[in-house]
Amino acid sequence: MSAANTKLKGRKIILHDMSLRDGMHAKKEQISVDQMVKIATALDEAGVPIIQVTHGAGVGGNSLQHGFAPHSNEEYIGAVAAKMKQAKVSVLLVPGLGTMREVQSAYDHGARSVHVATHCTEADTSPQHIAYCRKLGMDTTGFLMMAHLNTPEGLAQQGKLMESYGAQIIYITDSAGYMLPEDVREAIARLRETLKPETEIGFHGHNNLGMGIANSLAAIEEGASRIDASVAGLGAGAGNTPLEVFAAVCERMGMVTGVDLFKLMDLAEEQIVPMMDHMVRIDRDSLTLGFAGVYSTFLLHAKRAAQRFGVPARDILVELGRKKMISGQEDMIIDTAMTMAKQRGLLTEAAVG
């Protein structure tokens, strides 16, 4: 049977693995160094060109706000980088959380690529960081999170800013898994018109509405050449675009990714799925994220707050969406749960002791 769509035949796509960074969220930040090295080695052997590692919130991520991983970011980066035969190790840097000192340390331990991430309207909080990563010689991406909260033109202008700071790649990041293929198409098309031809474009999806693959294809059709994905979808919310599935689709469509599909399938089946604490899938709560436009990482935090304060996770997530909370505002999950619990007579105000 021939591929239905041949217009993408021959297109070269760089797959950027997220299992060991976004996947940390799905594991409550508890992947060990040994597990990370084992999985990264398998990804390297399968030909995946860039592998993101560390705490789910990136460099500087270890905190009460985002949880503590069992090892320092430097330990993960150093251990993985030492084993790579062809893959580059990448990290995430969110200004306001991570700093230049921390990205320098990540570089010193072997990181050579970076997503510098801001909310989709706040690119101007990243000039120092992007310039610094470029100075280090890192493959530097400007990563516009929660992209559904900005217009295509707004995103293009924010991407242009990041490009002016030195970013070589601009990503549209659907952190809430809320975007539909048409939204992605318009955003990427506008970005492609606005950026310099040599600036690459990427897409990072979450599968909360089951759109991970469709959105990634829409992005490629409009000019994206880098796609973030996770093996078996291991990532926040209902997970990222599943890497092995997307690789199969690319192969059917004649796109060139350089990865070994069967090795990725085996990795998904034999290592990633068995290590999941919960099945990363579209369930009631992760679907709520995609439907209400809520940051995917909020999922497990909301479930815990639901247990503590007796307010259902779905109610908390819908309220967070209504209040327009963005990435990094995990503290507002407990706050919102407490406020709702008070309204429902489940909790009383602090009084002078």
């Binding site: 009460l64 706000q65 230049m100 706040e122 120092q128 407490m338």
Partner: protein, 306 residues
Amino acid sequence: MKKIKCALIGSGNIGTDLIYKLKRSTVLEPVWMVGIDPASEGLARARDMGLKTTAEGVDGLLPHVLEDGIQIAFDATSAYVHAENSRKLNELGVLMIDLTPAAIGPLCVPPVNLREHADKLEMNVNMISCAGQATIPMVYAVSSVQPVAYGEIVASLASKSVGPGTRANLDEFTYTTSDALVRVGGARKGKALAIINPAEPPLIMRNTVSCLTDDEPDQKKITASVLAMIKEVQKYVPGYRLVNGPDYDGKRVTIFLEVGGLGDYLPTYAGNLDIMTAAAARTAEMFAEEILAGKIQLKPTAVEAA
């Protein structure tokens, strides 16, 4: 009643808001506004409000310091130029209130340690950051009850309230605030996180303060200490409010705050601006009261160039 004359350096959000705060003071009088762009909106506004202005930076102010009797200056420029501004003004006997993250002088959070600085007659005091002013009183309220191994704060700011200076220098904000959680708040280790949220209508400034205590938290004492400290801060920032907590989860104590501003220069959501300018004004007032009472006298000091 006689007032102490003040100069404001930097004509952005902070400098402009300070004009309103100083105009209300019974002991401070804003006289000069210093900028670097003759076309700046901030300088025009300052002129409209009756201040003298210069667009030549601090050097444009220096010749007027003695004749206009300037005794206190507020620096709301950037960490990079603050040291030089401070040196030049200290040499003329002007006390410097530093609102940049430069932090070359001791760190000041009024309800925690202002008295100490006034007694020592410090010629440069640093106001840390808006998040520091909003959260350090809470860390201190907990650490004064029992030892705090780790203090972490998350400040959520409305996008419209964050000026270009802060945006371009987020790391300095992070470093200065984290350091102050330890040095002033009393935690053994500190970490500060900043979130800039563009929601419309803009969200009011929120701060979440988490402390990890060494032993089980004494809930009754900590809650009382936190509520008492909130009253202290409310004396100069009336919109400082406990929304939730203290929440006790094992050894973690979490306090959820909201900071509403007075709505002087920016609307009330920009509590981050207010808590910084109100704390700076409160600090200057304490020194001014002492000067007016003849208890302290500012003297020219030679400061080594940084």
